[in-house]
Homo-oligomer: 298 residues x 2
């Protein structure tokens, strides 16, 4: 058995039919199929059935003025989401996390994650970044084109996924967990993380972030696992990085504390023991998976 | 020694000083520093010194109407690039690859990759995707804000990096390499690859792409290494994926052939032997690194 647990927001049963996305006939047939299903969302938040499964309705529930995206097939049935306007002033974040934690169906958080990221991207990318014109939904909901025959520049825009490295610095038999500067009380600690930048490999980004945030020098990076994080659309890339020394210089713009913890302390935190040295949030987050994997010996 | 060679476009000596990017005083001091250096570019193509090192000039060479980006520090000196308009109708692609291959300085392709991706991103993202207004360079050249006091919506935009999975399907002691459908002659084969989508982990994307392009079912994914690919700004994530069967069903929209090759055949191809079964392009590309690593036993 693998030492690495399955991360949250993975394992969707969705079959993405990328090859048909440019095929308008395929899309039209899927829309008119009696088996077509619409993922119900409340803004960006999931809607669940009483048994904790995702709630699917008929396409008739969608506003006819709103574009649909074809997510793919589940159980052979076409699955859509409506690219509806969303009120971003509402708290979509905790609704997303709490909703995903309440899901009981295997793979449901991953299916929802794809839909949520797609709807959110369309909401915030209705105009062409190249020329400022309004863009048009294409590729069965998986792109927006700046159409030349509508006065645009011809640029094609695709949903964005931002890679983030998230890592445990490892020295001897301990790893480093940090507390966000905005966490003034409580024992919430997690793996350090940061956005990967243009011109960087995963290994480059892990080394830069650990040096910037904790002043430690990385000698070796090992990748463990990854997950999509749908708020709004990150790719979380989970690593362990051996470092030269356990002397930490905190970037106080990011963190207000960081501690070295051993495997027993990690196990106690993951188990939520009342006297654990620290506490973890969000079991769906890959920080959990990383710490569990490391405690398992990965 | 590691079985995995260092991928191209990695190992830049650039120290990115992310922590100072919002500090206008720091930026202004760097601009007025006597040691400040400007990376010379020809459009998006690199300019090299006769010895194959990157060519750096003084900031006086930059058009005063063009924004500068502070890449970071090399040898303690502030390093800038001009966010100048680029004629995208010219062939920037082969100039990039040939220029990078001609670099003799360790890490130079990686420094250039960061600058190229940044300049290219600004060129194609001068407007706000959320509201269509013109945006303004901020964060020392590492962001564009849609300023409310200039009539904008307040959205903040950051350079984009698109994760791509690139992988060798592995069955027994052979791996699968494919030939692009546009390659009608010659023996150019490479690893299969595709963009990671919203709602996917690396492992999800590897399995989906191999199933879509070759009809093979993945049972296990092992990550090997990664690189930035600066045309325009991908993160290439290199993996080997064990598959259930060696029966391939090609997606002829993408590939016109795929072959299973063993370690000796890979070594012959990497060495450019005239009777090798296939030929590789671009030693800087991670497909090379992956095949070399696999031939080494990784």
């Amino acid at each position: 058995m693998s030492l690495i647990p399955t991360p949250g927001f993975t394992g969707s049963p969705l079959v993405r039919i990328d090859i048909e996305r440019d095929n308008q006939d395929y899309f039209d047939q899927a829309v008119s199929s009696l088996s077509a299903r619409l993922l119900r969302l409340d803004g960006l938040k999931p809607v669940l059935e009483p048994d904790g499964s995702l709630s699917w309705g008929s396409l008739a529930e969608a506003d006819p003025d709103v574009d649909l995206a074809l997510l793919g097939l589940i159980d052979g049935k076409p699955r859509f989401v409506a690219l509806a306007p969303v009120d971003m002033r509402q708290d979509q974040r905790m609704g997303t996390i709490n909703g995903a934690m309440a899901m009981t169906e295997p793979g449901a958080p991953a299916t929802y994650a794809a839909a949520r990221s797609l709807v959110d991207w369309h909401n915030r990318h209705r105009f062409c970044a190249n020329c400022g014109q309004r863009t048009t939904v294409r590729r069965s909901g998986w792109a927006r084109f700046c159409l030349k025959d509508a006065g645009g520049c011809g640029a094609e825009h695709f949903p964005r996924t931002d890679p983030v490295v998230i890592m445990l610095a490892e020295y001897g038999d301990k790893v480093l967990v940090g507390r966000n500067k905005n966490t003034m009380q409580g024992k919430f600690y997690s793996a350090l993380a940061g956005f990967l930048e243009v011109g960087e490999s995963i290994e480059d980004a892990v080394a830069r972030e650990l040096f910037e945030e904790a002043g430690v020098i990385v000698t070796e990076v090992r990748y463990l696992t990854s997950q999509p994080w749908p708020i709004p659309s990150q790719l979380m890339i989970g690593c362990v990085a051996k470092v030269e020394s356990n002397v930490v210089t905190l970037d106080t713009n990011e963190l207000n504390d960081a501690i070295w913890v051993d495997r027993d302390q990690v196990r106690a935190a993951l188990a939520g023991e009342p006297d654990a040295l620290f506490t973890m949030r969000y079991p769906l987050a890959i920080a959990h998976t990383l710490l569990q994997a490391w405690a398992n010996g990965a």
